[in-house]
Each structure stands twice: as C-alpha cells, then as structure tokens.
C-alpha cells in the first residue's frame, strides 16, 4: 500500500463525506418535507434509530438488504404518521411531541433490537467509482453506496417538486399560511400529517443505511445525534433540498475528521474531534439564525421560526 502521508487526511475526509453524509441527507430531506408543510418533527432521531433496527432485523430475517430498507421506510412512515396525527390535535406542542417520539422510538428500537445485536445481516451494495485509480486508498474512498446516489437524486427531485409541481405548491401553501390553504379548499392538518409521514419514511431509510452499510451493524450506540443534527442542518440549508445535499456532505466530512486524524497517528484529543460535528452544527445554527427578522425561506407556519 502506498503511503500517502498527510494527503491521507483530506482523502479520508472526502471518503467520510460520501460515506457518513447519507443518513444526514435522508433525515434532512425528510425534515425539509415536513417543515415545508409547517410542522417540525424533532423526533427524527428516534425514527432514525428505529429505522436502523427494523432495517437490520428485516434484512437479517429475509436475507435481502432492500427488504430491510423498505421495512425501515414503512416503520419511519408509521412514526411520522403518529407524530402528525397527535400534532393535529389542538394545542399540542409539536416540539414536545418530537422529544416524546424520540424517546419512544429509541426505547422501542432498543427493546426489539436486542436479539439482533449479534447476528450479521447482508450489506447494501456499493458501486466502485474509483476504478480509474491505482491507489487502493482512492478506490476505497470512492466506494459509493447506491443509497447515496438515490439520496442525491431525491434531493434534486424534491427541489423540482417544490418548484414546479402541484403537490409541491400545495405543501408550500399549507406551510406558509393555514388561512390561505383553507381558503383554497385544502385541508392543512391532513396535508401536514401526510408530509410528516413521508418525512418519517426518509428518516427511516437513513437509519437503514447506518445499520446496513456504514457502520454496517446494529447496536444501541448506532446514532449519536445524527437525526437531531440533520434537523439543525435544514435551517442552515434554508429549507432547500439541494442545499441539504451540500450541507450533508459538509457534515459527513466533519464527522470523518476524528477517525481520519487518528488513522495518520494523531490520537491526541480524540474525543474533541468526536465533538466536531456538534460544534459545527451549533456554529452553523448561530451563524444562520437571527433574532430580528424572519429567516429567508422559512415556512410561515413553522413554530421554531415564529
């Protein structure tokens, strides 16, 4: 193996950005869909973990990783549906419901996931895009998972949907003004519930990526706040699906910083690098929030920006 010296670090960060970003991407796309309809779902962390468990369990039992992805999407949609239905009741706080669903999702995932910590489920396939290089490190870095490509395509598709389709317009109207939506004969509660359910399905798929590809196993520490960071990332991306894709790559790279430095022998302050994604998220939140004016691009009915 060729020794790349210090060049191993940016390469590892690039590899990490591609590998680590996928769950961020799916969760943030789901959250964009939900928030554009005027609701916030803070429970996607729980959905992500439950998606990871159910995807892993179904992939192990059926032998097909794609069956696992499907199961995770269905489970995520169910969590989103419950969140959406409860939030449709008058005077129920969507932020608090999100916290409760996060606890419930993690509890159920750990409860049912216990028998699946040991068994090995089949992995999702990856496409070797590094065939042109002789360096094994580059080839390893460019092993791109199919779900990453699907997520990237979904980001552009969702951007187009909001911009140019009837469904996208309906979601945007409901998210910007409940009154205007009612005047148009739309049913805001129903549309928000459906958008939350669809958002949950995205988060579930993000979880399946965690357990079925990278890191590629199921355990109780599988997610350490990726679901929550993805929610913060949506604010940074200004509710724009394509910007979410870029932000997810950035966060993936930040998450890979610690392991990358460790691989070239920098082990000092390992835990501090581990904190890098959280610090970056917080920094991004501080930089992009504003106390005085409404945030550009923010849906009008969203509780966190009111």
């Amino acid at each position: 193996m060729t020794d790349l010296g210090i060049w191993a670090v940016p390469l590892a960060i690039l590899a990490g950005a591609i590998r680590v970003s996928t769950p961020f991407l799916f969760v943030s796309l789901g959250e964009v869909l939900t928030e554009r309809s005027g609701r916030i779902n803070l429970g996607l962390e729980g959905t992500l973990v439950f998606g990871a468990m159910s995807g892993y369990a179904v992939a192990y039992l059926t032998g097909s990783p794609w069956a696992g992805v499907l199961a995770a999407a269905v489970a995520g949609a169910l969590f989103g549906l419950v969140h959406g239905l409860i939030c449709s009741l008058p005077r129920v706080n969507d932020i608090a419901i999100g916290i409760a669903m996060m606890i419930l999702g993690m509890g159920l995932a750990f409860y049912f996931g216990k028998p699946f910590v040991q068994p090995v489920a089949p992995d999702l396939p990856a496409i070797p895009l590094g065939w042109w290089s002789d360096l094994p490190q580059v080839q390893a870095a460019l092993q791109v998972n199919v779900l990453f490509l699907i997520g990237a395509a979904a980001a552009f598709a969702m951007w187009w949907m909001f911009r140019a389709t009837r469904v996208g317009l309906i979601i945007r109207v409901v998210g910007d003004s409940t009154d205007a939506a009612r005047a148009m004969g739309l049913r805001p509660a129903l549309i928000r519930t459906l958008a939350t359910a669809a958002g949950g399905a995205f988060a579930g798929v993000g979880g399946a990526y965690l357990s079925l590809y990278y890191p590629g196993s199921w355990n109780e520490g599988i997610s350490s706040g990726q679901g929550l960071m993805a929610v913060a990332l949506v604010i940074f991306a200004r509710w724009n699906p394509v910007a979410c894709f870029g932000a997810a790559l950035l966060f993936g790279g930040a998450g890979a910083l610690g392991p990358a430095l460790q691989s070239v022998g920098v082990s000092e302050g390992y835990y501090l690098y581990y904190a890098a994604p959280y610090v970056l998220t917080l920094g991004v939140l501080i930089a992009t929030s504003s106390p005085h004016r409404a945030m550009t691009g923010a849906p009008g009915e969203l509780s966190i920006t009111k």
């Binding site: 009741l89 129920v92 606890i103 993690m106 913060a232 904190a275 501080i286 106390p291």
Partner: protein
C-alpha cells in the same frame, strides 16, 4: 327550583364558589394522573402483546421501588438528581423555552466539582464542599445560560442548541477524564482522582439516603417560591405567554431568559455535584447516565410546577430503581423503562389538548346553576 339561586344565596353561594375553585384546581391534578394511567395502560397492552404479565411488572416495580425500607432508600437516592434535572427543564419552560440538554450541565457540573475536590484535598470540608457545589452551579449555569443567551441574542432554537451542547459536554468530559484530569490509577474506567473521604457528602442521619435529596427538595421549594411568589416569576410567566407584550410592558425579557436558564443549569450542575461527591466519589463516564433525559419527562408530567416535581420524581425514581430486578425476573431488555417512559410522555402531551375542554372542570358549571 329555578329560584333557588335567589332564595338561598347565603347558603348556596359559598358552597358553589368552593366547588368552582375545586373544579378549577382538580383539572391540573386529575388530567396528568389520567394521562399517566393511560400511558401505563398502553404499556400494559404492549407487555401483553409480548406475552408478559403487566400485573407482575407493576407488582415487581412496587416491591423493588417502594415495598420495603431498603427499596425506598434506593428510590430516594435516585430521586435527588432527577429533582435537579427536572428543575432544569421546568424553570426555562416558564418562559416558553423547551430546554432538553440538562444532561450536559450535570456532566460538566460533576466534572468541575470532582476536579476542584481533587485540588482541594486536605482543605476542611466546611470550606471545600461549598466551593465544589458552587463550582458545579457556576459551570452548569454558564452551560445552560449560554443556551438562553443564544436564544435571546441570536434567535437560536433552544431545544436543538441545548441537546447539541449536551453531546459536546459529554465529549469534553470524556476528553478530560481520559487525558489531562485522569487518575493514572483508574485503569478500566478512566476517572478523576478519588475524592478524600472528608470531601464526600454523607447520608442524612438515620437514613441510607444522601443529603442530595433534601437539597433537591429545597431546590424545588425555592423554585416554586420564585415562580409563584415573586415579581420575577410573574414577569417570566407573562414573557412566556407573549414575548412582544412583555417587551411592550418594559419587562427585561433578556435578563429573565438568561436568569431562568442559568438557574436551571445551576440546579442541574448541583445534580452532578451530588453524583460525584455522594455517589461515585470521582468524576467519570457514569455521570452521563440519562438523569437529564428522565428529568424532561418529569417536568412535563409535573406541568413545570416545581412542587409537583417532587412526587413525580419519586415515582419515576422508583421505576428506575426497580428496573434491574424487574428486567431480570421477567426477562425483559434494559430498554423496557425507556419504552414505558415514551408511552407516558406521549400520553401526557396528548392530554394537553383536553385542558379547558372538559365541562366537569369548568368553574362556571359549578358557580352558576
């Protein structure tokens, strides 16, 4: 009968006024209890679906959490950090802020107390212990106070910011106890150096429960007095209802937000202080044991009323104290407690929709004919 209200106001009115008062108060007690029962009911169904007996579960919880003097002591020892953790949620909630990162203040408060305690070895306990507690309060207060500052100065969402800061706090603690603050003798579990025996907080006389319980109850009473009996608490309630209105009234919204979040964080820091000085004897990863998250549920169950936090915290501490035994006896996974908490949490939030809508609690149903 129609002229009853006219002919007998002297006897009927006080009774009806009292009934109206009782009805209004009862809503705040009956609805959370009903929601708790609903949560338990859903959890029981969940257990039945697994072929487990809910009756066995709850009777084991009762036996191991509240059945004997020993189990009471176990429960009450776990109550102390939960009281503080719940205050860290309940105080900012008065201002309408949902702060869920108390775990971070617990961890760093405990670390500050542990590190200071090591360097104060040999100092008299009467000096060192208050200093350690103060350090924990200051660190916890700064940590959660910064969430309030970010909220007020930059409009950063406090729920997300506080949880991110909790992750950062745990990483910071791991870094410090594995590196600069590590006791070389702690091999398997990196920790700060153990506190001198003189700097350990002991048990209350006649009990096997450390002083943290009394401090936690005192904290709840203080917080209640602040919210219910001072102009600061009153101003906070107005600001929590409508920030614009509060600003128009000339209320110092910024100082209220900073003060209430910092005070909540200081209480959470104290939880860390007692965990280090009374339970573990040194600061290590055991500080991040989830008390901060259980505190969120307690505060919501208590509807952010500091006095109601006391019984709710004891109840949930009983569930946590009994979890080990219940899981072994019934062959349930560790996450059973988390599932139960999740169901109860969802039920309590759904019950919010019923306030003011059930006619039985409406004062006018009782005060007028």
């Amino acid at each position: 009968m129609t002229d009853h209200g006219i002919s007998g106001p002297a006897t009927g009115a006080p009774l009806r006024a009292m009934l109206a008062r009782v009805a209004r108060r009862a809503e705040a007690v009956v609805l959370p209890l009903a929601a708790l029962m609903a949560g338990f009911a859903v959890f029981s169904l969940f257990l039945l679906m697994q072929g487990k007996s809910p009756a066995e579960f709850f009777s084991l919880v009762y036996k191991a959490g509240f059945g004997t003097a020993f189990s009471w002591q176990n429960t009450l020892s776990r109550t102390a950090p939960l009281l503080f953790a719940a205050l860290c949620v309940a105080l900012p909630a008065r201002l309408g802020l949902v702060v869920i990162g108390g775990e971070g203040a617990i961890v760093l408060g405990g670390l500050a107390a542990g590190a200071l305690g090591v360097s104060l070895a040999g100092a008299p306990a009467a000096v060192a212990l208050p200093l350690m507690a103060l350090a924990a309060c200051v660190v916890g207060g700064l940590w959660i106070g910064s969430v309030g500052a970010l909220r007020y100065l930059r409009g950063v969402n406090e729920t997300i910011a506080s949880l991110l800061l909790a992750y950062i706090a745990i990483a910071l603690m791991n870094h410090l106890v594995e590196g600069p603050l590590r006791d070389p003798a702690s091999l398997n579990k990196p920790s700060t150096a153990p506190l001198a025996d003189a700097l350990r907080v002991g048990d209350m006389p006649g009990w096997d429960v450390h002083w943290g319980l009394l401090a936690g109850i005192a904290g709840c009473v203080l917080a209640w007095a602040l919210i219910d009996r001072t102009t600061w608490g009153f101003a906070a309630r107005i600001a929590g209802g409508n920030v614009r209105a509060a600003q128009v009234q000339g209320l110092p919204v910024g100082r209220l937000i900073l003060g209430f979040t910092a005070l909540g964080g200081a209480f959470a820091g104290l939880a860390g202080f007692f965990e280090v000085a009374a339970v573990h004897g040194s600061a290590n990863a055991s500080l991040a044991s989830g008390y901060g998250y259980t505190g969120i549920l307690i505060a919501f169950l208590a509807r952010h009323n500091p006095l109601a936090i006391i019984p709710v915290a004891i109840l949930l501490a009983g569930f946590e104290a009994s979890s080990g035994l219940v899981q072994r006896r019934m062959d349930l996974p560790d996450a059973t407690t988390l599932v139960l908490q999740g169901f109860v949490f969802v039920a309590i939030l759904i019950s919010e929709t019923l306030y003011g809508r059930l006619r039985i609690f409406a004062p006018e149903r009782w005060s007028t004919r």
